[in-house]
Structure formats: structure tokens, C-alpha cells
Symmetry: C2
Subunit: 147 residues, 2 copies
């Protein structure tokens, strides 16, 4: 169960793509510049996102990446899983739950994981898109946000 910059960068990039007008391709460099991310690193993530079928790529000049389908049909869970943010507790060993304590803790981890997974899969990129738009609108008031 973890959440690192991989997931953060990936979601930001996907959000960036959905905020682009229409569905024309955007280069890695452009995304990296807008989101202030290291371009070579971001590219790795985009490749993984492409392999997961979440984005499409076009090589060559004027090429780049674009969403493979509408933001409403892309969930956060899919994005995070695509870049290996397992969210899963204790990847390898988990079988032999021959002790009561083992069984209890494992079933607990599993329940928690399932809950979180469901939550992440129920949130679409479109939901975040609207959040972002409303935030941008609120910025018009020049309010200082301190989270």
C-alpha cells in the first residue's frame, strides 16, 4: 500500500491531457513544462499509461500523447494501477495464514484494500476535471488557498 510521486505525476499528466482543448496530441515536453515535471521521467510514466491502454501515442513531428477515451471512462484506480501504485498491502507473502493473528490481520488488510480500491475506481478523471475547472474559476477572486 503506497502512494508515491509516480501516482501523483501520472494523475497530473492525465488531468493535463483532459484539460487540453479537443483531442489533439500533446508532446511530453509540453506536459512536463506545464506541470513542472521532469520530462524524461514523465515519459516513462506515459509509456506505462499507453501500455495500459489509457492514452494513445503518435510518433514523429507534431506527435505526442492523447487520451485513449473520454475522461468519464478513465478512473483514478486505473491510472494508479497502470504505473504500479499497487495500493496492495504486502505484495508477496500472504498465503499460510495458519495462525489466528495472521488470518485476522490479513483479512483486515484485504478489506481495507478493497474499500480503497473501490473508492479509487469510482472516481473518474472527469470528476477531477470539474474540480480543477471550479478551482480555476475560484482563482479569479484572487483568494489565497492554504491547505
Amino acid at each position: 500500500m503506497k502512494l508515491t510521486t509516480r501516482g501523483h505525476y501520472s494523475v497530473k499528466a492525465m488531468l493535463d491531457l483532459s484539460l487540453q482543448p479537443q483531442r489533439d496530441t500533446t508532446s511530453v515536453k509540453a506536459i512536463a513544462h506545464r506541470q513542472e515535471l521532469p520530462a524524461p521521467y514523465l515519459e516513462k510514466l506515459l509509456i506505462e499509461l499507453r501500455r495500459a491502454g489509457l492514452v494513445e501515442s503518435v510518433r514523429g513531428a507534431q506527435g505526442g500523447y492523447r487520451l485513449a477515451r473520454s475522461p468519464a471512462h478513465i478512473s483514478l484506480g486505473q491510472i494508479l494501477e497502470a504505473v504500479g501504485e499497487t495500493i496492495e498491502p504486502l505484495p508477496h507473502h500472504s498465503p499460510e495464514a495458519n495462525q489466528a493473528e495472521d488470518w485476522v490481520t490479513f483479512s483486515l488488510w484485504h478489506r481495507l484494500h478493497q474499500k480503497l480500491k473501490d473508492a479509487l475506481h469510482s472516481i473518474s478523471l472527469e470528476d477531477l476535471y470539474y474540480d480543477a475547472r471550479s478551482w480555476q474559476a475560484a482563482q479569479g477572486e484572487a483568494t489565497s488557498f492554504v491547505v
Copy 2:
């Protein structure tokens, strides 16, 4: 946001302690043997749990550890936090949310974290204790469980 063996071992050890009859002390070695954990490593975790006020220790012969208070008043969240299972996403940087994408993702991580935290703090050691007892009962007492 992570969940490693530290948390798993700690919960198992705490569960082991609550399954002990009465409130007499148990040595690290005994816990490690019952739960099949590396004793020196487990000791580190118990020291952290002691510093967090979740267990009490008694040095010297016949010494060991015992719960500092009743299992009903010890939550899973307290145990995990005591051993540094932050559960928190992206510990360090998070300020400058000057971009819509940053703000959206950060507020999302924060909401998820809060949810998970609440869930973990609402589960007491006593709840797991009952789960463990019922599992033992379901096993038909065939399994050897040191009481």
C-alpha cells in the same frame, strides 16, 4: 501511504498480547516464537510501541511487555502510527499548489487519507480480538494455540 511488515508485525504482536490471559508480562522471545517473527526486529517495534504509550515494559528476569490499557482503548491507527506507518501520501512537499492540477490531486490524496485514517482509528484491538477468537472457534480447536 504505505503498509509494510512493520505494521503487520506490530498488529500481530499487539494481538498476541491481548490474547494472553490476564495482564502479566510476556517476553519478546515468547511473542516472536508464537508469531514466527524475528525476535531482534520485533523488539525494535515493541520499543516504539512503548514510547507511544501502547505497551508497558518490565526489565529483568520474568520481565517482558504487556498492554498499557485495555484492547478496547487501543486503535489500529494508533498502532500503525506508532511504528511509522504514515499512511500519509507524499510526506514532504505539498505546499505550492499554484496549479489547478496540483490542488486537485493534493486535496484528493488528503481526502482519501482522512477516510482511511478514520477507518483505522475506529477499529480497536478488541474488535480484532473477537475476530481472532471466532476464527479459532471455527478451526475446531484443532490448531495449537498457546494460551
